[in-house]
Symmetry: D2
Subunit: 306 residues, 4 copies
């Protein structure tokens, strides 16, 4: 019985790039991790040992760096679109049918004096000195198939915690249930979010303001988490997703993965101490994992399940 | 415009379990990391804050441990099938429509004297003393939707290296190509493999011998890697996939992810030394990433792209 | 020839604790990872299999949690001092001669609206909603030997970068030197710092304001890094250490470990592009590692070399 | 008050090197991670911004690779000694007073057929095809100060487990003790071991057979762990250390760090199941951490406490 080569792709992964934009009085930096995957007419590479259609991953890497110089990096999404279009449209003989660019972005703040956030550390220094900020990583994925562009942006490792206003009661019970109901618990999670833009890159459609969208989606996720009295992490997830759709018209689908970072109340009774929701053990594993998609009516969701 | 709850699932992830089977003269152990995800009638959990259909993840955890005692763990796959069927078939009111069980398995060897592999360390000791072996992790995923079972087994972190019999030449060149052709290079990769079994769990279909299948697929992957003169990692990937299909009738689809762990020849000329493929720098990043599926003709591949 | 039991210690490591201080209108949280190591009269535990002098690590864990309730956690250092004194002074029969408490602290910020940092997310929510902030981890180590206390505080994973004002020239050359001199390079490092306080805990000596000291030392490290034109990372290290000693009288020794996170200028000439210090490849390994101690004259340094 | 530069050192860390020894019918490989730290006359580098005495870390890296070609790598220890002597003895103007070489070694096995360990995968293939083996990493540290050499070898990440023959009873109890005594428990740990050789490198003293010593020390550690009925992990630690000293005359000090990887018996009574030491939950954190040194009488121990 014959064997068939199915879906396949290749590229250079984890190209670490720091791009300095050197202004006259101060610098700006972009710190990215860029992964490229190409699909196309690669049957002979696999089956016949012919590399005639194989653009080396080393060339892919060179392109990533050269484009950063040639076009600058205004946002990961805009830069990713340029790269994806290049690999499909410019590679000779039409061998590349589809390009996927994934980018992680690490954020930096300017170094300031902690006592006075408004005053920088001297006028000369602030221009070129940075400290890594935040826990979270900004993510983006651009796919281009020769016809249209699909952009899914996101974030990961955004860790949040509510120290009250969370309960978990009235759940289904079976012969393996021993959990006691909780009417006041810590709710904590490490948010992974991805959201798809309606942007298709066809015609003269304008690109959304990617950086501002990111900031605003992050804000709405945080505000929904903070502002929701939680009956379950599922309910909080849905509140977070709808909040984004309510406020950002550019987005038509949100996917969230929320591990429930359990905080267990420690039993201090044996030591004559009452523990009135004050002392918790933060567990690593096992953890509940809650995942879900919220999308606009009529939109076909595309973000895959992890 | 209304919002819609799309695909969603939840469960307990990373239940770490060690199961000891205590024989009269010696013990056996299974060391697993079990993650459960359930899909079903969970709209009200998300939208209405009602947990009436929510089986707590704590209950899921209890079930994982209780089943290990009740049924033992002959193989991760057989154990996963029992769990998946239970969550769908036994949960009341038919709230669970689909269960996915993912398991990582860590392998152990009995402690022996290194000088004499055939002779154990005294007759009493060998029975209960173990050392973690190998780099690789065995994986399995069982999905049950109330009708049929799908089993995708695999491995990850299997690191292999050929110190010769690999070249890379005749590739596509464009304006960003600077790579020089290589006629003798190190080929090294960290194999992630997943393979789908034809088994569907319908009727009285017998389960494949999961443990033997695993050992044999691993063997064929290694032999194909070692025995193939490589023109590209893509070509090696295809050889590995077909070798498995050729030898294991139970398997009808193989998906491989092969990061190209680059080993760069160090330039020692400035120090008056010739480097005849002897001294290499092993790079972490960036790396080529080669992915592909090989399947039997007529089979619809189901293993998702990462 | 007889064998001797040398230095030994044991304890419970990585007790993860979250302590909520519940104010009437808002909560505060401390998020710690506490490791305890005890030394003492443990010969019989090792040599005779007698546990009469062995306080179980489970008891040590219980104590860590109980003390968090009983005394609250004003700072990691003050809490560590209470724990260290307890294990030495309160354990019966004087079996514990020395206690070492190591604490990692993870920092959280209140969730606010990003558009207006001054305005919280509604008056109810802000009180109990937090997001993990910063990359760095605050560390502290308290040692008590029954007579005096030694406190070494620190931080790790503070990642900083100067995009200019760094050179490296005029270095020693030998037959293995190929490096070209750099008159404008990126200087980036991931700071690990430890500093010893003069505080001894004897008599009625007041404890330093630990939290304010931490904030200020961190500030001075950042300002010295940002404000120093660098001839080498060694010279920057010395500037950072002296800046702390100049400004914080409580500190008499500073130890710094500064991996040089190399950023290599990418050669874009083959593509007809000039790279005027704009596009860099951020390397993982190998890296320069620069370590050093700066201390006050007359002080005997105690922070060990890693 | 003046500030003083205390202990300082610098070098290139984590030089990843793969050395292929190409025999006529088969290859051998060494896979190392080499870190170099130099101490010496570096005051002006720190204080005056003068690099005249600073051998660049890039040069250090070049030397590591060049020596691998020039001298081959018979063992990590012998190679480390050559490097350490070179940096101190050969660097001009006597600026380097002390060199410390740390090496991690990753082990590989030849690829063989799993069904028949004695028969390789065809005569051609076996010669150059390898698979990473084992969990543990071999470590070594060589220090040379211009007069004598000190070699501390070791291993880490050797994970072992006894499924019985371990108890923990009769321990000290205080007001925070809630632990119940255990008469049959799992004992599991992840061994980090370091051992110092008596070898000093003075005169014409012959080097010990480093590779065989490593294999034998590892064997004795495993055998002692497996063969000891354990009253505490401390007692097992001492048994492991003395076993090495009893069998390897070259070694005069052993330091062990043994995290107690707790396996908790799961309570299955609520589900009508008895758990007769069969089903365990393997915890990540918190964990007991047991550390200790065993040395020959009259020897001054030098391996530092972590």
């Amino acid at each position: 019985m014959a064997h068939v080569l199915g879906q396949n792709q290749y590229g250079k992964a984890e190209n670490r790039i720091v791009r300095v934009h050197r202004g006259s009085t101060r610098h700006d930096i972009k710190d990215l991790n860029v992964s490229v995957a190409l699909s196309g007419a690669f049957e002979d590479v696999h089956l016949a040992g012919s590399n005639a259609n194989c653009l080396p991953t080393d060339t892919i890497k060179n392109t990533v760096y050269a484009f950063a110089k040639r076009y600058g990096i205004e946002s990961a999404e805009a830069y990713g679109i340029l790269l994806a279009r290049h690999f499909v449209d410019d590679t000779e003989r039409g061998v590349v049918h589809r390009a996927r660019i994934r980018i992680e972005e690490y954020t930096w703040e300017r170094i300031r004096t902690p006592d006075d956030n408004a005053r920088p550390v001297g006028s000369e220094e602030v221009g070129h000195s940075f400290v890594r900020s935040g826990q979270e990583v900004r993510t983006s994925e651009v796919v281009y198939d020769g016809e249209s562009v699909q952009v899914v942006s996101g974030l990961k490792d955004l860790v949040v915690l509510n120290s009250t206003d969370s309960e978990f009661r009235g759940y289904l019970k079976d012969g393996y249930t021993t959990l006691r109901e909780a009417d006041d618990r810590i709710l904590a999670t490490q948010v992974t979010a991805r959201w798809k833009y309606g942007y298709t890159g066809r015609g003269d459609e304008a690109q959304p303001p990617w950086n501002r969208c990111y900031t605003q989606v992050r804000r709405h996720l945080l505000e929904a988490f903070a502002g929701t009295y939680s009956y379950s992490l599922q309910q909080t997830l849905y509140a977070m997703g709808t909040r984004v759709l309510d406020h950002r018209a550019e987005v038509d689908e949100v996917r969230l993965e929320l591990p429930n970072r359990h905080h267990f109340l420690v039993d201090l009774e044996p030591f004559g101490l009452e523990n009135d929701n004050e002392v918790y053990y933060a567990a690593d594993r096992m953890y509940g994992l809650i995942e879900g998609t919220v999308h606009r009516e009529g939109v076909v969701p595309v973000i895959p399940v992890a």
